[in-house]
């Protein structure tokens, strides 16, 4: 059902000098401690990473709860911040599709889609035979997902030993890792424009609309990058 050799190849992407394990650990440890602060118990914290597994959305949820936002507001705020997962899935899954593979694998494994797993898969899918790419993806996903859950638990349990300076240090690891991965992905002009323009527009539009900034910045910067690529044949 699942090609175990390829699955483990995906799982092993947690090892080595390009491993996402450290940044994942850092940010989910920080999240676990934050959830404890927000009044979650251990099971609820683990369940949050198990079922949501998307850090920015979980941060929005915790902060919304702390300021007493309504459930509907939480839904909308999380949807807007995690909407990026839609274009990310559409820009990855067609690369993993193969006729011989059952569709349920795609519908279930889309839960593993997060920035770290996406960047790894985009970086290494070419090395995997097309027929087995979805199994490779499931391996990557299981590895990153389980790391996130375990580290949320670790963060919750170690919350009282983490001081504020350590928490600040942990919180920077994830954006730094993602920035490095994105710079590594800037292999053609349209991706480079997408990354640079997105980085500028994200905070700029945030000044006008905090909630819609990601959606607008992504659409505008992405479309400009795409049109530029089309015009210049890259």
């Amino acid at each position: 059902m699942i090609n175990s050799k390829v699955f483990f190849q995906g799982l092993k992407s947690l090892q080595g000098s390009r491993s996402p394990a450290i940044p994942l650990a850092a940010c989910f440890i920080a999240l676990g401690a934050l959830l404890k602060d927000a009044g979650f118990n251990l099971q609820q914290s683990a369940a949050s990473s198990l079922f949501t597994y998307a850090l920015p959305g979980q941060l929005v949820m915790a902060e919304s709860l702390l300021v007493g936002a309504s459930i509907l507001n939480i839904f909308i705020a999380v949807w807007l911040v995690n909407f990026r997962l839609y274009p990310m899935t559409v820009s990855l899954f067609p690369l993993l599709v193969h006729k011989s593979q059952p569709k349920w694998k795609y519908y279930l494994s889309c839960h593993f889609l997060a920035v770290s797993s996406w960047l790894i898969a985009k970086d290494s899918y070419k090395k995997i035979d097309k027929r087995n790419r979805i199994d490779f993806w499931i391996g990557v996903g299981v590895g990153t997902w389980s790391t996130a859950i375990l580290m949320t638990i670790a963060g919750y349990l170690s919350a009282e030993y983490l001081n504020k300076d350590m928490m600040v240090g942990l919180a920077i690891v994830n954006p730094v890792y993602f920035f490095c991965m994105m710079i590594g992905a800037m292999k053609n002009i349209s991706i480079s424009i997408a990354v640079i323009l997105g980085t500028i527009l994200g905070p700029l539009i945030y000044l006008y609309s905090a909630e819609w900034s990601l959606l607008f910045a992504g659409l505008i910067a992405g479309t400009v990058a795409f049109l530029f690529g089309e015009k210049n044949g890259v």
Binding site: F51, V90, L214, T223
Partner: protein, 108 residues
């Protein structure tokens, strides 16, 4: 409503709001060919949305990161990207160093 019920409801709502985008993406993917222009457009939008999120995380951070100053955060990002390029794309080193530099700089 009890606070523990609100938390459970918040977890359910957050998970649903997140999974919708993933599932919609998986469904749309079945109809998108890798060679199509639509795929290229989605690819650009995905990268730029992610970049927008990262830009926002550094400039207008949420949570504990806002305890540090903007100039220090930008400095740390630049140092770590330089390490990444200098070490021929080693990711472990810049990420560990980023945590150490920021912890030290914010504590002084």
């Amino acid at each position: 409503m009890e606070s523990s019920q609100i938390i459970i409801l918040a977890i359910v709502v957050t998970s649903l709001a997140t999974f919708i985008s993933r599932l919609m993406g998986a469904i749309t993917s079945q109809k998108v060919s890798v060679e199509s222009k639509v795929f290229n457009w989605f690819n650009c939008v995905a990268y730029s949305t992610l970049a927008a999120l990262l830009g926002r995380m550094i400039i207008f951070p949420a949570g504990v990161l806002s305890e540090s100053t903007l100039i220090i955060r930008i400095l740390v990002v630049f140092i770590c990207i330089s390490i990444f390029i200098y070490t021929k794309k080693n990711l472990v080193l810049p990420t560990i160093i980023s945590a150490i530099i920021l912890s030290v700089l914010t504590s002084v």
